[in-house]
Structure formats: structure tokens, C-alpha cells
Amino acid sequence: MRWLWMKEKESYILKVLVHPVDSFWEMKFQRKSKRWIPPLLVFIFFLVTIFERQFRAFLFNDSYNSPLDLMYQIRIVILPIVLFCVSNWAVTTLMDGKGTMQDIFMVVAYSLVPLIIFKVIGALISGAMSLNEDLYLYLIDGCGVLWFAIILISGIMTIHQYSFKKLAGTLLLTIAAAAIVIFVVLLFFNLFSEIIGFVYSIYRELTLRI
């Protein structure tokens, strides 16, 4: 899995695909990760989702011909990643997880690699497919998601040193925590906008009276 232009630490981008547990172990405990790789992977994934949205064939693309909204794209791609990292960290620090926030982000970023690969393949071959052959395309999409899930789960297990049972529990709690985070954020925004509105109305009242 180590290609010529890759030095040892970069080669984990591909090694992770076949040996996720070993790779994450080495990256975490033998410090074989590079700090700039996870953000780069997330950025590449972001670009790939845009690429898929823009270049997946008309037949298999619901957002075909509709204008690209970058903020929306960030909302559905970057935000879930951040949310997962934060809420998973919040849960696992309380439950004896060995992973730091950086480790969690690393796992998430590296597990995006199969998604990146399969999304690009799917977008490229979708142009040669009719609706009758949609099964193959969904197969490719499904493979990407499955592989992503396997790497993510084994990675999270490795960095936190969890059993599968504990992992399942923490993942459920992560979802709950994410829901709470969303709720709190919305509540905060709502209250904040009301405070702003209140201050603004006082300001208006004052300027009108004085």
C-alpha cells in the first residue's frame, strides 16, 4: 500500500483502507500521523461532494441544474463532521475513552477516504448508465458507505480502546449528544436574536423619543 511518492506517514491514507485497526493504532500510539493530513482529507471530501453534485449524470442527480449553494453544502458536509467529533469527544471523555479530540477528527477524516474514492468513481461512470443499470451505481455508493462505516467504527474502537459493546453504547450516546448540541445551539440563536431585537427596540424607542 505504500506508493513511491508517499513517505511513510502519508502512506497511511491508503493503508487505512485495508488495515484500519493497525493503522489507527500506529498513528495514535506510535505518532505516525501528520497533522495536516486530516484537514486536507476533509477538504478533499468537501470538494468531492461538490464534484459529485455538479457532475453526476442527470439521471441520478436530484440537484441537477439547480444552483450550487456553498453555505448549504458546508451545512450538510462539514457541519455533521464537526458535530460528530464534538459530541463523540464529549461522550467518550466521560466514559474512559483514550482518544483526544484530535484522534477523533483523525479517524473521521481517514474514514472518508473510501467515500472520496467511490463518490468519484460513481460520478464518473454514472454518465454511461441508464436507469436500467442504476443497481450498479447504487452498489458502488453502498460499497463506499459500508467501507466508510467499517473504518470509522474500527477506528473509534481503536483510539478509545473500547470493546464493540461499549462502542455501540457510546455511538448511541453520541447521537443523543449531537441532538442536544443542535437543540442548545438553536435555543441560543433564538434567545440571542430576541435579545438583539429587544435592545434594538429600546434603541429605536429612545431615538424616537429623544
Binding site: 513511491l4 439521471l59 454511461a128 441508464s130 436507469l131 436500467n132
Partner: protein
């Protein structure tokens, strides 16, 4: 043309068409397809109409208008000159004729005029040449009809073989089929009852008494029927709970109406936007008329609108309105009939017959549909493309243009049209053809480039390996 534009702006109603958008099906404004050209009432007909209820044509194109209040049937020539009036019948021993009691439906078959006399519980037959009553069809006898059955015929149609179809009041098993002699054959096209899941669960918790007090689940009655030129029965229901208010019945009574419009709605029900909101009132159809192209016009009592659909269930256009005093709107529309390109609509409250004629836009839709059915795809394509210049929101025009191009073998262009209409199913079909064509055109190059790619790959890999091996040796040497 200038006159036309003036006429369009004079339309007392706004037309719309359904369009598929990313957010769902919405309605957008469309050009007016039909305009009122003439109103026939007592001023120019020469007879007093008190409640025109039904209209029909004989084989020579003469009109028959049924006045349900007076029981008169007025006959007019194709140019709307008065011919004669029929009324009542002589009962034995009586010198004065008995009036028809609230007749509601008429039809002509084989020079015989059938009148469905609702209150008189019978069907009266007139000979339209001798103007004599030639027979009655009284209450039919059958075990199917039950004991307390009262024959109250409302609408009537006779097909080419002489089978009589009757819509009768208080009959919810479908249409009554009678023979020429008046014998009851059976019910056809009966409505099925569909209870909503919510209702089923709700009923589970109710007591017997509560269930009895709720609105009974009975199949709805048909409001009206009409025969199309090929002998199929179009039937409409006015009740709102029905998902399929418009039906096309084959001779054995099965609903064969195609509900497969290009925008994927799968409904043919008049007004549908806002269907899921609580205060939405669905269209309530009172009559329907179909032409030889399979285009049918359904008359909606609720909003006085006429909806035109093609044989696949695509809405072609909509026109008409209600409750204004302008010509072309109705208060109580009761019947519709098509004569060539003219549409006549009866208004019972206004006591008039309004004639509509297609605008340039409406005529083009008809022409384009006709040339497509006739297989004249080049001509049809030009017509549909012209329609797109007048109404760029007309999904059907894109799809039909695509169909024409597909039939002409121009798959690439067809794909573009299907893409514009967001018609993936058809796009996929054209794409398969196009891909096949492309593959067979470029097969040699494809294979050659594939072989070239493989050779290139092998060469590159071996070069890289050699280079790597040399580098390794070099590194080893350096380490030593």
C-alpha cells in the same frame, strides 16, 4: 393577430398549467387556450330556456337541448336555427299530453331520442324524424335491485350496439346497463369503497352506536357519463372523497383511464394544488366530453372550470371560471359537448349555452396532438416547438418534442428535451439508444484506445519498477 391579442386579454379567467419543480407540482400561468365566442340564450335561440340541463347531438349534427324545468327538448340545426320542440307524451285516455317530470338526461342513438325522466321513473323514447313517442322503459325488474328500489334515471347514454347505460339516483353500485327492451343486465363500473387507515383504527375504538352515527361508507354515485367516439364510457363523480373522479370504462366496466402524465403526478382530478391543506375544495365534475384524439374535457361545477387532458392524463390546458357576470364564466354549469373544435357549455342558472373556440395556442395544441397521433412526427415537432415559444412552462411540449425526435431517431436532441422537462424515464430510454449508437459508431476507436491504454500501463509500470529497483540498490549502497 392583433385581434387575437385583444381577445386574449379579454378572457374573463386566468388559465394555468401544472409544472413539476424541485419543490413539487405547482401551477403557473399559461396562455388562454379557449375563448368564449358566442352566447346562445332566449334572445337568439327563439325559445325560452328555464333550466338547460343536458345537450346532445344526432348523427347529422343537430343539437338537442333538454330543459329540465319545463320538460321540453328543443332541437336546433348545426347553425343553431330552431327546428322543433318535443314535450310530454300522450297517455291512453288522455287528450292533453302529460309533461315530462324533471328529465335530466338525453341522448340520441339511431334516430331515437332517449330522455331520462327522473321524477317520472322512466325513460321516454322519441323518434326524432316523426317526433312521436315510440316507447318507454319503465322500472326494470331484477333480483339485484332490491325490494324498495325506485328507478330514477338521471343521465343516459346508448352505445353503438344499442346497450343503454343509465346513471340513476340513489344507485351506488355503478352504472345500470339496460337492453333496448328495457331489461336490466347488470351494474358496471362500480365504485369501490376505500377506508383510510385512520378511519379503520378510529372505528376500532368506537361503539356500535357511534359507528352508526358516523357518515356511512358507501360508494359514490356517478354524476354523469358520456361516450367517446370509439365507444368507451367516460364517467365523472362530483364527490370529493374520490381519488379518481374521472374514469374511462371499457365495455366490461373496468376503469382504464391512463393516469401517467409526464410530470409524474399520477392523478387526473382537476385542481390539485393545495390538495393536502384542510380548506382545499377539490373539483366537482358534472360532465365530460371526449373527442376522437382521446382528449377529454371535464367540466368542474365548483370553480366553473373546464380541464382538458390528453389520453395519457397530461393536463393540456384549463379555462373558464365562475360567478362573475362576464361571458365565459358560469354560475351553475350543467353540461358540455364538443363539436369539431367548438366547445359548448350549458349554464343552468344563466339559462344559456356558451360557445368556446380555441385561440391560436389552443388550436396548436390540438393540431400538434393530432399530427403526433397520426405519426407525422416532423410536423408535430414543429408544432410543439412553436408551442414552447408561447409557453415555456409547458412540460408536455418538451416531452412530446422529445418523443417526436426519438421517433425520428435523433436521440441526442431528444435527450436534451427530456432533460428540460425533467423526464428521467424518457431520458433514460433515449440515452440507451444514443449509447448504443455511439458505441457502434466508435467501437474501433474504443477498442484501439483500450489496447493502447493497457500497453501504456504495462510500460509505465515496468519503467517505474526498474527505476525503483535501481534507487533501492543505490540506497543500499549508500547505507553500506
Amino acid at each position: 393577430m392583433a385581434v387575437m391579442v385583444g381577445a386574449v386579454s379579454a378572457a374573463p379567467y386566468k388559465s394555468y398549467i401544472y409544472v413539476k419543480k424541485n419543490s413539487g407540482i405547482t401551477d403557473v400561468a399559461a396562455p388562454t387556450a379557449y375563448l368564449p365566442v358566442k352566447v346562445y340564450d332566449e334572445n337568439n335561440l327563439g325559445v325560452k330556456l328555464s333550466a338547460p340541463e343536458d345537450i346532445c347531438l344526432d348523427s347529422e349534427g343537430n343539437f338537442y337541448i333538454l330543459d329540465s324545468e319545463t320538460g321540453y327538448i328543443h332541437s336546433f340545426s348545426p347553425e343553431w336555427e330552431k327546428r322543433y320542440s318535443l314535450f310530454g307524451y300522450l297517455e291512453s285516455g288522455n287528450l292533453n299530453p302529460t309533461d315530462l317530470k324533471k328529465p335530466q338526461g338525453i341522448c340520441v342513438w339511431n334516430n331515437v331520442l332517449y330522455v331520462a325522466e327522473t321524477e317520472g321513473n322512466q325513460i321516454v323514447k322519441y323518434d326524432i324524424n316523426t317526433k312521436e313517442v315510440i316507447g318507454f322503459i319503465k322500472q326494470p325488474e331484477s333480483d339485484l335491485l332490491g325490494d324498495g328500489f325506485e328507478f330514477r334515471p338521471k343521465k343516459i347514454e346508448v352505445d353503438s350496439t344499442g346497450r343503454i347505460f343509465v346513471v340513476a339516483e340513489n344507485v351506488n353500485q355503478g352504472l345500470m346497463e339496460l337492453t333496448q327492451e328495457g331489461a336490466f343486465v347488470g351494474f358496471i363500473g362500480s365504485n369501490s369503497v376505500v377506508a383510510s387507515p385512520f378511519e379503520v383504527i378510529f372505528r376500532y375504538f368506537l361503539t356500535e352506536e357511534q359507528i352508526e352515527n358516523r357518515v356511512a361508507f358507501v360508494p359514490v354515485e356517478y354524476t354523469n357519463i358520456s361516450l367517446d367516439p370509439s365507444g368507451f364510457i367516460y364517467a365523472v363523480t362530483a364527490v370529493s372523497e374520490v381519488n379518481t373522479p374521472i374514469r374511462k370504462l371499457n365495455p366490461s366496466g373496468v376503469d382504464i383511464l391512463v393516469r401517467n402524465p409526464v410530470n409524474g403526478m399520477e392523478t387526473v382530478a382537476g385542481d390539485i394544488v393545495g390538495k393536502n391543506s384542510l380548506d382545499f375544495e377539490p373539483s366537482s365534475f358534472v360532465d365530460i366530453a371526449a373527442n376522437d384524439m382521446g382528449i377529454y374535457f371535464a367540466l368542474d361545477k365548483k370553480r366553473g372550470r373546464i380541464f382538458a387532458y390528453d389520453e395519457d392524463g397530461n393536463m393540456l390546458f384549463e379555462f373558464g371560471g365562475n360567478n362573475t357576470n362576464q361571458t365565459g364564466t358560469f354560475i351553475l354549469p350543467s353540461a358540455i359537448c364538443i363539436v369539431e373544435n367548438r366547445i359548448y357549455v350549458l349554464d343552468r342558472d344563466r339559462k344559456c349555452i356558451v360557445a368556446f373556440e380555441p385561440t391560436e395556442y389552443g388550436q396548436k395544441i390540438m393540431d400538434a396532438t393530432r399530427s403526433y397521433i397520426e405519426g407525422n412526427y416532423e410536423k408535430s415537432l414543429v408544432q410543439w416547438e412553436e408551442l414552447l415559444k408561447k409557453n415555456c412552462n409547458f412540460d408536455l411540449a418538451y416531452v412530446k418534442s422529445g418523443f417526436c425526435l426519438y421517433r425520428m431517431g435523433e436521440y441526442k436532441k431528444a435527450m436534451q428535451y427530456f432533460e428540460l422537462a425533467n423526464a428521467r424515464k424518457y431520458y433514460s430510454k433515449a440515452f440507451v439508444k444514443y449509447r448504443k449508437e455511439w458505441l457502434s459508431d466508435n467501437f474501433t476507436w474504443l477498442i484501439l484506445s483500450l489496447v493502447a491504454a493497457i500497453i501504456l500501463l504495462v510500460v509505465v509500470v515496468s519503467l517505474v519498477r526498474r527505476w525503483a529497483a535501481r534507487r533501492k540498490k543505490f540506497v543500499f549502497a549508500a547505507e553500506r
